[in-house]
Amino acid sequence: MKKIKFSEITPEKIYLNRRDFIKKLGLSTSALMIGQNFLNNAYASTNSLEPTEYRYISTYNNYYEFGTRKSDPVEKSQNFKTEPWNIKINGEVENEINISALEINNMFESEERIYRLRCVEGWSMVIPWMGFSLSKLLEKAKPNNKAKFVEFISVYDPVQMPGQKYPILQWPYREGLRIDEAMHPLTTLVTGLYGKKLPNQNGAPLRLIVPWKYGFKSAKAIVNIKLVEKMPTSSWMRSSPREYGFYSNVNPNVDHPRWSQASERVIGSGILSERIPTQMFNGYGDEVANLYSGMDLKKYF
């Protein structure tokens, strides 16, 4: 399946009217000389990547900093302060960066990116994010040749985040990517969704989205991006190394010890709709499979 790429972005209001969307997509892309073949693909991908309703995206969240129930994040994050918000990019870089979320928003233009989000729990949503490739920000920091991995550290603020009062996971939340994964154009720094500012329960003010990996890889409320030489240990790896690997690529052939990963429930599709088969790399194999050529993905799960 072909995905909508960042190069094929449409204006944010398209999701309000699907027909309008397809028409505009057709016009803009043909203007962009991409040809008939692409138009068919784009049409097919809009069919299968129909965005999930906003009410589900904004109320059904795994964000344990605010509690372990799906409804906790929306209920407990509304007063969370995302301003001022500073992010540090340091470690193996030539150019250490201290920057506010506001400055990032002004410096990089966000575009709409419609990606499927596959949770390790066996469900998926299609989310129209607003954001830009993380590589643009990382390039400004100029990673040196010792930068082999990127670690993402989320905010630690137990006063505002009631879930952090409990040792559910090791706080602050940590995630990591290999440098080539982090520099991949699909890896997105997210600033919004559905054309609006990112809601607190979805990881405001800045979160990551790595669409070919399970959702937990996409750290929320990031305060520090650290370029490192050694593979970082993520919070979930620390909590249960048998269940959560560093890579955590969506892979229907490798089961989680507790859940089959062969299929998924589509959020918002109703009580009588069937599970759909999970795709290798969440359907983004054309773009990312080459990052893992020669690797045993059962071993490096």
């Binding site: 507790r258 859940w259 918002g268 069937e274």
Partner: protein, 194 residues
């Protein structure tokens, strides 16, 4: 009095089913309705296990035989809700697609133990009639002690499916452990009671 009380309790026991029917009707089940239905019936199965196991300790504590009259009915509700829970998983979630289901039962320990618990419930439900009690005599009592194993399996099922250490599965486990521990005492004190 028990005559009027029993039908009332019976209707009360149907409430968990009623809620779900209302929720389906009003489309109130949220983002993952199938999972919600499954969890709902799973949790109520555990609640009914706890209720069933509470009856003889209550009898002892209050000195009223009244409680025992509800035990069988509550036990059958355990089987009823466990069966709906299982059917939700097999029918609604997996559409009777047996391959992944069999795979799950064999590979996932929480599903294996949950399924085992349901299998163990079948002989108990099948021998719940007055006639079977007469036929099986003292074997009946031994057979129905299986409910202790079922209770432990049920709580393990809940613990093992949880992603991290969650509060609720531990609460149910604690309640079940207390209810089982109370029985050890009962047996020590009244040897005749059995």
């Amino acid at each position: 009095m028990i005559k009027y009380f029993k039908p009332f309790v019976f209707i009360l026991c149907l409430w968990p089913l009623g809620i779900i029917i209302l929720d389906i009707y009003y489309n109130n089940l949220g983002a993952e309705p199938v999972k919600k239905i499954m969890n709902h019936f799973g949790e109520w199965t555990l609640i009914f296990i706890c209720l069933t196991l509470s009856m003889s300790p209550l009898k002892r504590i209050t000195n009223l035989s009244f409680w025992i009259k509800f035990r069988r009915m509550l036990g059958l509700f355990v089987f009823f809700y466990a069966t709906i829970h299982l059917l939700t998983y097999i029918g609604l979630d997996y559409r009777f697609d047996w391959e992944p289901i069999i795979n799950d039962v064999l590979k996932k320990k929480y599903i294996f133990i949950g399924f085992s618990a349901w299998l163990l419930l079948i002989p108990l439900a099948a021998t719940s009639s007055q006639k079977m009690i007469r036929i099986l005599r003292h074997n009946w009592k031994n057979l129905h002690r299986l409910v202790y194993v079922i209770a432990i399996f049920g709580s393990l099922h809940y613990i093992w499916l949880s992603k991290t250490i969650f509060f609720k599965p531990l609460i149910y486990t604690a309640i079940i452990v207390v209810l089982l521990a109370l029985r050890i005492k009962i047996k020590k004190r009244d040897v005749n009671y059995g």
